[in-house]
Amino acid sequence: MTDTQNHEEAIVSKTLYDRLGGEPAVNVAVDIFYRKVLNDDRINRFFDDVDMETQAAKQKAFLTMAFGGPHSYTGADMRKGHAHLVKMGLDDSHFDAVVEHLGATLVELNAPQELIAEVVVICETTRNDILGR
């Protein structure tokens, strides 16, 4: 086995979370992402009544999950956590807007396109739970 192969295997075996930069990457991304979300009139009403610090912690948890990092949230948690937003009218268009901001955040952080695509795939796996379907 050549060194190049070794190197490539090491890259492949690392998780998406690690390849994006692990926790430091999440810490950098969370402000950029959350600022985009709060500035978007399509979705910011869902964030009106929340305390910023609590929300930032939630954003961090969300990004950790979206990056494929260590998280302890299940589909049931997702449903429960978003049920009140579904009552407020949360639908696919809002979900898409959030994914759009996440993608734009990663572009801003110069993440490679293929990693962004992987993040989007992970987000998609939560769509039905989040929208309570």
Partner: protein
């Protein structure tokens, strides 16, 4: 294996265990949720030991300085004394040395202590009356005169505690005072960072402490203080702040009045509106917000949207207890 001490009890933490797991194994009541360092539910502090770096990852720098850490991320590197969030506070006795009115509704109360009182300018304590009635008040001075604490106390309509302080307390009386709390204070790092201080009413107390501390530590970035109330009679320490403004090129004091009249030298409008209109871009700024909870909540969001990093926004919302 290390020893974890909580009040009178001690517990052993095995080599492969986190502090959280060790305490849960012994049925210690500690709140937690994700066990991944994300939710911060299991935040505790260690008064006398510096926690391992990994256990403080993601915490505000002021909390790090106060030795707070996440129990779920902590593999001890030495024996640790641990303080749980709901653990009873230690009270010491302060003796009143000054009571004087700063304006028509704000009392300056100074207390002295036999021993050095440890605090950071901008923190708050709980004051307790002999019958147990307790209220939180921000400390108005800096630790330079370290066995003295000063408070700016506004008389609240029907406020049991503030009425008592305004009407009955006199020099020589004693009051029970808790340890200092809160993470809204100045740290002497990033000396050239611009600082925004915004507060209403007695929100000036912690902000003035933070300001004095920053100036004393030679902060070189610009510092803007916006202090607001409805009428000029409800502002206070105006001369003192104006003098500091004249003495320090990098300090700017902007008193704001939201009522109908605003005499020359005062900005007209609510403190948050004036501050946000004056400072269009807060990228890279450090922000301190104290006072009215709605103002604080709104400013937290607006300063963040204007570019301040969430880690650089420090806030102390004053919650008014029902009479």
């Amino acid at each position: 294996m290390y020893k974890l001490t909580i009040e009178e009890n001690s517990y052993s933490c095995q080599a492969d265990e986190t502090v959280l797991d060790a305490l849960l194994r012994k049925d210690v009541a500690i709140t937690y949720s994700c066990k991944k360092g994300t939710c911060h539910s299991c935040i505790v502090s260690s008064p006398d030991t510096t926690p391992p770096e990994a256990a403080q990852s993601g915490l505000k720098n002021t909390l790090k300085k106060l030795n707070y850490f996440l129990a779920c991320q902590c593999h001890p590197e030495q024996d640790m004394t641990i303080k749980l969030p709901d653990q009873a506070e230690f009270y010491s006795e302060g003796t009143v040395i000054v009571t004087e009115m700063l304006n028509r509704n704000t009392l300056l109360l100074s207390l002295t202590f036999n021993d050095t009182f440890k605090f950071n300018a901008g923190q708050f304590v709980n004051l307790q009356r002999a019958d147990g009635l307790t209220r939180s008040y921000s400390i108005a001075n800096t630790p330079q005169k370290s066995n003295i604490l000063e408070f700016n106390i506004r008389r609240l309509p029907n406020g049991q505690f503030s009425e008592w302080l305004h009407n009955d307390i006199k020099v020589g009386d004693t009051i029970a005072v808790s340890e200092a709390n809160g993470s809204c204070f100045y740290l002497p790092e990033k000396n050239d960072q611009n600082i925004l201080l915004a507060g209403t009413g007695t929100g000036l107390a912690p902000l003035a402490g933070i300001l004095t501390d920053a100036l004393a530590q030679g902060h070189s970035g610009s510092i803007y203080l916006f202090h607001g109330s409805r009428e000029v009679e409800d502002l206070y320490r105006i001369d003192e702040m104006q003098k500091l403004d004249e003495e320090h090129e990098n300090f700017h004091y902007i008193p704001c009045l939201s009522g109908e009249d605003s005499p020359e030298g005062f900005s007209h409008g609510r403190v948050n509106e004036v501050a946000l209109a004056s400072l269009p871009d807060l990228k890279g700024w450090r922000v301190f917000l104290c006072g009215n909870p709605d103002m604080v909540k709104q400013m937290k969001k607006m300063t963040f949207l204007k570019g301040a990093a969430s880690a650089d926004i420090y806030a102390d919302a004053f919650l008014v207890s029902p009479a």
